[in-house]
Symmetry: C2
Subunit: 244 residues, 2 copies
């Protein structure tokens, strides 16, 4: 039997300092809600997404792009940033709103994680929306580093469970044995206890924060497994669709 | 019912940057093997242990202490450091060897984690050897931050499972509801799947490294739950026994 990919799971971007992503395929997850937004937006026809670390960087980048085709989106403390066109709920990223648009996105955790993987061979974007598509995309890679955005530098249960279900899906789809590091083993084990569903999200700190901010409906929305068959991939600093 | 402690689990010292340990009781775990050594040594009569980050710091500190009463111990890449008296196997820390001695200890992960908690209200040292004693010690604290040393900046399964069993023991012993953050919930769930035993250690990267280095017997030794009824506590830069 051929060897399948070796899969590592990092629970915070800071863990990349230990072993790095150089030469690996990175898969970034911030399921509540940045990477759910990115998958939704790319599936619904966005031309490209530019993640930035700061609001200032987002503003500066907009000034260099075609204003008619560009939207600013993102959150701080879960809420839409003042003066921005969209917040960080995937329900906002409808075809009517974003088809052919370039999106500049800055969020508290997710876009930071994307930026942290710049040295990877390539960086893919995952959420529950595209687990099977991402698993298929990495099936022939040798080293896959799944990077959870976490919450303000700390472990987050929502991202971890999403990562665990991705690991299980990779194991189902891979043509050969899949190697798991300690993090991947733990994430897969947790995915056996926590379903890919709104109930799991509600048990996480990120989920509770959304409920408190009266955005509980996003928990149900973000829990739809394989809603889309797309894999967003980051080239240089722009996210586009794999295969485009 | 009174409120029991609120328990957080951090899987790497770097996660402390997110929420910090100020005002909390920190509990440091590097079960393979630094904190197992510390618990064993303090139970067997060591006078004090001084963790240092580097070999140079260890050497410099020895020159300032009573040479007849001081031993250098620790490892790099799992092996005893050249010129040191002891390595990093708890089997070396016998009463004959260490009673009334001051130990200066430097290891790859564990002593770094201890140093990272310097801002905590107090720092306790835990391994499987003293789970019940530590749980009892923190039963009346309001905030407990369990800090896993991890492995070179990354998540480690052995420390996590030890942390999870500590969380379960705290929940059993606390006089009231115990609050769990995402990390503590995940660790407790994993402890339901992975026993506090040598089999779990053998499934971890740290455990496999010890097997490869022909120190497999340390896996069995470090897996003895509640071998001792002591709680080492770090005051300033010295670890002594709680209550001394």
């Amino acid at each position: 039997m051929a060897d399948g990919p070796s899969v590592q799971v990092f629970f915070t971007p800071a863990e990349l300092g230990g072993r790095g992503v150089e030469g690996k395929t990175a898969v970034v997850i911030d399921v509540l809600r940045a990477t759910s937004c990115i998958v939704e937006a790319m599936a619904n026809g966005a031309a490209a997404i530019f993640p930035t670390e700061s609001v200032d960087d987002a503003m500066a980048l907009r000034d260099s792009l075609d204003l008619d085709r560009t939207l600013l989106c993102g959150e701080r403390k879960g809420l839409r940033i003042g003066g921005f066109d969209l917040g960080n709920s995937p329900t906002e990223f409808t075809p009517e709103m974003i088809t052919d648009k370039q999106l500049i996105m800055t969020t508290t955790n997710g876009t930071q994680a994307l930026v942290a993987t710049r040295r990877a061979r390539r960086t893919l974007v995952a959420s529950l929306f595209n687990l099977s598509a991402v698993a298929q995309e990495v099936a022939n890679d040798s080293e896959v580093a799944v990077v959870c955005a976490g919450k303000e530098g700390c472990f987050s249960l929502d991202d971890t469970v999403c990562a665990g279900h991705l690991v299980l899906t990779i194991m189902e789809q891979a043509d050969g044995d899949v190697g798991l590091d300690d993090g991947a083993s733990a994430a897969a084990k947790l995915a056996g206890s926590y379903g890919p569903d709104a109930q799991t999200f509600a048990a996480s700190a990120a989920g509770r924060a959304l409920v408190d901010a009266e955005m509980a409906s996003d928990l149900e929305f973000c829990a739809e497994v394989d809603r889309h068959d797309v894999v967003p991939v980051m080239h240089d600093r722009a996210i586009v669709l794999s295969g485009d």
